[in-house]
Symmetry: C2
Subunit: 342 residues, 2 copies
């Protein structure tokens, strides 16, 4: 028997706001009868986008403010206490929602979530984690931009958090964990990475060593750990080259009437290929290390993509991620596990 | 009238050694009547691979040692004074060759080149630079792994070197230079990147600001500057995802008899697409900042790829890259330009 759960959605966040979030919510509800969604944002806009749709398992929490996509995290935190983003996170803090999802600006979301929810014991810094498609299905990466400079201990904590997420949500007993590094022997890595390597090698994690950038997509690894600068560049690079390849391929098929004809024949294959690679199917990054579940959707997400982020939030609620991470971090650092409630 | 020039090739370097380097040399010579190549390595192997081919404009410089692909740079430097790699670099130092090309291990090549040739005045560290295909043709990136930790001044010097390379070799008057960074406003970048941003904004370079990882492939930029850790990860990531996409696409076309048929129809397009993306056409990374020209080929390069690296070496000889970089770095740092000879 599936337990009912509640997820708060920041309706105003992202490039498209209510226009995308409300339809995504309706799609999600249609397939998930045990979930209630709280739509947090401008009541009028929510109402308009709900239209005649059934409002069963929908609650509306009106707010008066929005966090702009380019707003500074500190300004959002200090000045926007009735923003849809802030209130969605507050609902998690107060236990009214088991998780929240926002497509709003990452810096503001992380700063607000950290301020409101606080980090788990023994976690110095929360990190952002997401999955990317790879030769072996998919690979999780973290951190993706929350922490620009990291110590070896931070990288180690990231590894524990990511490993636990994968283990809990995907049922992989001992996820394969790797450190992102560069390939030249003697000058391999900076000091932080080398020290993190030592910590991981001694840990109880299923640490398989270093991978290079190509390994994220080609090697049999479940989690690739890096600092937020490197992780962000890696993720954005792969998005960039995928887009570039997609557009170049389309251009090739559009060149002449003959290539257009060939493109027509190849259409079903190209479509199925695009489905496999579809970044929307991977939308939804987890803010790990907090005393509550926060999922970040891509700012430009469409309905399908945002719906995917809601699925991730639901999985994390069911897996009780913050508590599990809290316990695991304690265990791996050799301190008494503490029971944390999300 | 094209001036004759001489290029030394490390025949034993790379995964395939003489089997690839000698045929690549023959291909190159057939199209470049003004170039003489010195083949440096095991004389017997070179002889075997030359076979009946014309030996016009070929000189053989026999050596007795090889640097292994996994050998430590310091060991290679101390213990392998008659290695094909070392001797090829010595030939540049002695002025017998205008440049050398090696597919050998990057760490050893950089360490040896730096020891033998020395860095240019006002350059603290040499850097590795290569081009990658992009929406606007191609983009140069540096550093790609020589320097793991960089100060703002290092990044600035990289920008000057890369800009001058592009300007000289490609005839772009004022190459567009960008710094690789991550996208979140408040926490944008680490200290080094922020300070390098200030230095570049005040410089005479055509600095266009920050780009994110996707910008390398999507934005109209000629040079993307980063430290060697980030640059290496970015490059390897893009190689990884390109390979993954290529293989996934092939797999889609092989699924059923129908998709195979469609694949047949699409074959010319897919081939032309592969040509555009072919990493071999981009093979050849420049070690910039040295008092001589050294080009690094990918270790796994085939004939076509290695030949491309020889073309890059030739272009750099004709453009007199070390001297131009020496002058430009002096100019941008506000010190008297010094005439350096390669």
């Amino acid at each position: 028997m599936v337990q009912p759960c509640v997820i708060a959605l920041d309706v105003m966040g992202g490039d498209h706001g209510s226009k995308v979030v409300v339809p995504a919510a309706l799609r999600f509800l249609a397939d998930n009868p045990h979930v209630t969604l709280i739509l947090v944002g401008n009541a009028e806009q929510i109402d308009a986008h709900l239209g005649d749709a059934s409002r069963e398992r929908i609650r509306i929490r009106p707010t008066t403010q929005e966090v702009a996509m380019d707003e500074s995290p500190s300004k959002a935190l200090r000045g926007k206490k009735d923003s849809s983003m802030r209130v969605a996170i507050d609902l998690v803090k107060e236990g009214e929602a088991g998780a929240c999802v926002s497509a709003g600006n990452t810096g503001a979301l992380m700063a607000t979530a950290r301020f409101v929810l606080k980090t788990l014991p023994n976690i110095d810094r929360p990190a952002i984690c997401t999955a990317v498609p790879s030769m072996h299905g998919h690979t999780h990466m973290l951190d993706l931009g929350a922490n620009v400079d990291c110590t070896a201990e931070h990288l180690f904590q990231f590894a524990v958090m990511g490993s636990e997420l994968i283990s809990a949500v995907e049922g992989v007993a001992r996820p394969k964990v790797a450190l992102l590094n560069i390939g030249q022997e003697e000058i391999k890595g900076n000091e932080q990475v080398k020290q993190a390597h030592e910590l991981l090698a001694r840990s109880g994690l299923n640490y398989i060593g270093y991978v290079e950038g190509n390994g994220i997509f080609l090697e049999d690894v479940d989690l690739v750990v890096s600092d937020g600068f490197v992780g962000n560049v890696a993720l954005k690079c792969s998005e960039g080259i995928a887009k570039f390849i997609g557009q170049s391929l389309s251009a090739q098929f559009r060149r002449t009437w003959f290539t257009r004809l060939a493109g027509l024949a190849a259409l079903p294959i190209l479509k199925s290929f695009r489905r496999t690679m579809d970044p929307r199917r991977y939308n939804g990054a987890s803010l790990l290390g907090l005393r509550g579940i926060v999922v970040k959707s891509h700012g430009g997400a469409d309905e399908l993509a945002f719906e995917n982020a809601i699925y991730i939030a639901e999985k994390e609620i069911r897996a009780n991620i913050p508590q599990r991470i809290g316990e695991q971090v304690g265990r791996h650092l050799g301190v008494e596990p503490q029971r944390e409630t999300a």
